[in-house]
């Protein structure tokens, strides 16, 4: 079934929308959550929470042209929260590690006041990412959006872990410079 048809089912409050969503995207969403949480049961819970949140969010949202990305965003949000809640030695530490890395992108990390709203931040970071070449952009997104490990990224792109780390470090530095240059304080 096409994404637009599935979204129409949500808008009609037809519960078969969830079944069609699961049939089309369930495996990818579960895999995404598993990559983040590293726990099969938690991944399944994240998948189910995603359907429930999608049911609550459509309407008002109408993600006809980007249903997977819309669902994946929910899955990521749920999975991140699960990681933080569980905070076991490995995954909680992993999320903290990613947060620490991202602090290098923030021009004024100690400024507790958020002066740039979330939507604007999304647009600014998207503009920056579009300016990068495909490989760098995808490495950044695999690391900080999909929360892949460095070794998994290296395998995905067929390069060394050192290259991935160096690329990520440079992209973080460029993002920080970009935010400063554009006059944003986050």
């Amino acid at each position: 079934m096409e994404d637009g048809q599935i979204v129409e089912l949500y808008l009609d409050r037809n519960e078969s929308a969830i079944g069609h969503t699961a049939e089309k995207y369930g495996r990818r969403l579960r895999s995404l959550a598993l990559g983040m949480t590293q726990d099969v049961q938690t991944a399944e819970e994240c998948e189910n929470d995603t359907y429930m949140e999608a049911w609550r969010s459509i309407p008002p949202h109408e993600p006809r042209g980007y249903l997977y990305a819309f669902l994946a965003r929910i899955t990521r949000h749920v999975a991140l929260n699960r990681c933080r809640e569980r905070d076991t030695l490995k995954r909680g530490g992993f999320v903290r590690e990613l947060s620490t890395e991202l602090e290098q992108c923030i021009p004024a990390p100690d400024d507790l006041e958020c002066r740039l709203d979330a939507m604007a931040l999304g647009e600014v970071v998207s503009s920056f990412l579009i300016s990068l070449d495909r490989e760098k952009r995808d490495m950044f997104l695999r690391r900080y959006w999909y929360l892949d490990s460095v070794s998994d990224i290296a395998r995905r792109f067929g390069c060394s872990e050192g290259k991935v780390k160096t690329t990520l470090f440079r992209v973080r530095g460029r993002l920080r410079a970009y935010l400063e240059q554009e006059g944003y304080t986050v």
Partner: protein, 603 residues
């Protein structure tokens, strides 16, 4: 805004970019890989037939544990039905293991468990480089185009084979190249070794090719022999499974001919939780033949090696629990020597469940470096002692003689409660340990030097008063946080004299570490170079030319101060003059371009 909030808000990135990043990268498939793919398919069929026939010849009852902690099992096997090198406590054959994992995969939990988390303690001279020389000819990797051939700093030709690592052994040039077919769910890697004759150094002639399935774990030369380690495997949990586990058996080709990999050349380390192995092959580059091979199946986390030894550290982490490490040791012929069970060494429980770990006092030792000298295996590492919400670190050293009694261990607390081992330098009878720390109140970072002295099987740990800068990368370029195995901050000048990178862009410290009980800092430079280009930074790529002279790569940013665009690099010479007031001099002029220049020729 803090990093965790920033991480959350990245969810609002344009969905088109998110979708695009979920596509698998497309890589061009080379002609040889197409051929090898076809060959691989045929070989899987052949291997399946072989496996089916071989399976019935092997006993299915689990074998008894051949190697309880610290007991050597070198020498001829007493069990004719089971190769002595099959080290598993639980499985008598590879088929039995794969049959079990087909339905009981434990799910991969640790980033390091794909065999890629390893690093090496090998001597630098054994490892490959991106630039090597033979007589007055220099060979240098030139991107994916091949290997450039230089004479008198002029490019005179190209070896039309891409390479990741280069070796020169005798009159041979050896290239190692990793290729990847990423167009599938589970990318397939192949490592290709080419051997060239250098009778005419300007025109290397290709003699032979060896190709092995898997991603490159490590490669090194010992005399004329190349050791090639590759890893392959899969988490067969249902999300990434390839249905045919026969694909996860080693494959090795000599030219176009596949070399059989029988069960006798397989070791199973402990009780693997997923299908993953490291395949080790010894290639005689003079005789152009494979002289040894062995595949190690297990939850291998780290790999250490030396000229005539190999150590594999295993640790299992499933969705419910994790184990403490085992260190399996092998000789230069890749045969099993013995095993050190860290739980038994420290008298701890082998397995800890994730759920109970935060609730009780735990002691978690982790090996960080392994070496072998005169048949004695030496290890150093750090333990985390967790008591409720607080924890502190402890150094430990272990010595293990396979022909002796149980391994011996010593522990030591440093003045800093929490630290990470950032670097370990092995010498004949000791290890020099860099323990990096970050203290929050008052904020302070640094590295404390410590020593593990080994009197045969008796380790002694010594702390020192020396605090160095903590060096984790190059400012504005890259940082590894805890850089163990990623960068080597020490440069040995011999006789216990060491240069060490410090926090300055062009700074070195000079240490006399010849006496572990009384190490000395001789000099700390605050930037040693008179004509450092603006923004210039020393790289960790260096070559010791003699006991007083080192060539170090220098990186200068582009015209707009950008390290990512138009940056240039050159070699600078570091001279050490012990009796001078300023004992470290960096000479940047004349600048030698990196391309086409082997620093060894700069003397």
């Amino acid at each position: 805004m803090r990093g965790n909030e920033f991480l959350d808000k990245l969810e609002l990135i344009d969905p088109i970019l998110i979708e695009a990043a979920d596509e698998l990268p497309k890589q061009k498939k080379t002609a040889w890989l197409k051929w090898s793919g076809l060959a691989a398919c045929l070989c899987v069929v052949a291997a399946s037939v072989f496996a089916l026939t071989a399976h019935h010849k092997r006993p299915l009852e689990p074998a008894p544990d051949p190697n309880p902690i610290g007991v050597a099992t070198d020498g001829p096997s007493d069990h004719p039905d089971r190769p002595q090198e099959v080290t598993s406590e639980a499985y008598s054959s590879l088929e039995e293991l794969l049959d079990y994992l087909r339905d009981h995969d434990g799910h991969r939990q640790s980033d390091a468990q794909n065999g890629k988390g390893g690093y090496s303690t090998a001597h630098a001279a054994m490892t490959g480089a991106d630039t090597v020389s033979y007589q007055s000819t220099v060979y240098q990797i030139d991107g994916t185009a091949g290997v450039g051939i230089y004479q008198s700093r002029e490019l005179i030709g190209t070896v039309g084979t891409p390479a990741d690592w280069l070796f020169v052994a005798g009159q041979r040039l050896v290239t190692v190249w990793v290729d990847c077919d990423a167009g599938e769910l589970d990318p397939e890697y192949w490592v290709k070794v080419n051997v060239f004759d250098l009778s005419d150094p300007a025109h290397p002639q290709k003699l032979d090719t060896f190709t092995q399935l898997g991603d490159l774990t490590a490669c090194w030369m010992a005399g004329d022999q190349l050791y090639l380690l590759t890893d392959d495997g899969v988490c067969a949990c249902g999300y990434s499974r390839l249905s045919n586990l026969e694909d996860y058996k080693p494959q090795l080709f000599h030219g176009e001919e596949q070399i059989p990999w029988p069960e006798e050349d397989v070791s199973i380390l402990g009780k693997p939780s997923h299908v993953s192995y490291i395949a080790a092959t010894r290639i005689d580059t003079e005789r152009l033949e494979v002289v040894g091979k062995r595949a190690y199946y297990g939850d291998i986390e780290d790999v250490y090696y030396g000229e005539d030894w190999l150590a594999l550290v295993t640790q299992t982490a499933t969705e419910h629990a994790h184990t403490l490490q085992d260190v399996y040791t092998f000789n230069g012929s890749l045969n099993f020597i013995g095993k050190v069970d860290m739980a038994a060494v420290f008298g701890l429980e082998k397995t800890l469940t994730w759920s109970e770990e935060p609730l009780r006092e735990t002691y978690y030792p982790e090996v960080k470096a392994v070496d072998c000298s005169d048949g004695v295996w030496r290890m150093v590492g750090q333990s985390i002692h967790r008591i409720g919400p607080t924890w502190y670190s402890e150094l430990f050293a272990v010595a293990y003689d396979p022909e002796g009694e149980k391994p011996t261990v010593q522990t030591l607390q440093l003045p800093e409660e929490q630290f990470d081992i950032d670097d370990v330098v092995w010498e004949e009878d000791r290890a020099i340990i860099s323990a990096g720390f970050v203290q929050l109140d008052p904020y302070e970072t640094g590295t404390r030097l410590a020593f593990a002295q080994f009197d045969k099987t008796e380790p002694t740990l010594l702390s020192s008063d020396i605090l160095c800068d903590r060096v984790t990368g190059i400012d504005m370029m890259y940082s590894y946080g805890t850089p163990l195995g990623e960068i080597q901050p020490f440069i040995s000048l011999g006789e216990g004299l060491y240069l060490r990178y410090n926090g300055m862009p062009d700074g070195f410290d000079l240490y006399d570490l010849s006496d572990s009980e009384a190490p000395k800092c001789l000099y700390r430079s605050q930037g040693a170079m008179a004509d450092l280009p603006e923004g210039g930074r020393l790289d960790f790529d260096n070559r010791v030319l003699d006991e007083h002279t080192v060539a170090v790569k220098l990186i200068a940013p582009g015209p707009d101060g950008n390290y990512f665009k138009d940056a240039t690099s050159s070699w600078v010479i570091v001279r050490v003059r012990l009796n001078e007031t300023i004992p470290i001099i960096l000479e940047e002029s004349p600048r030698y371009p990196v391309e086409g220049t082997d620093p060894v020729t700069l003397r």
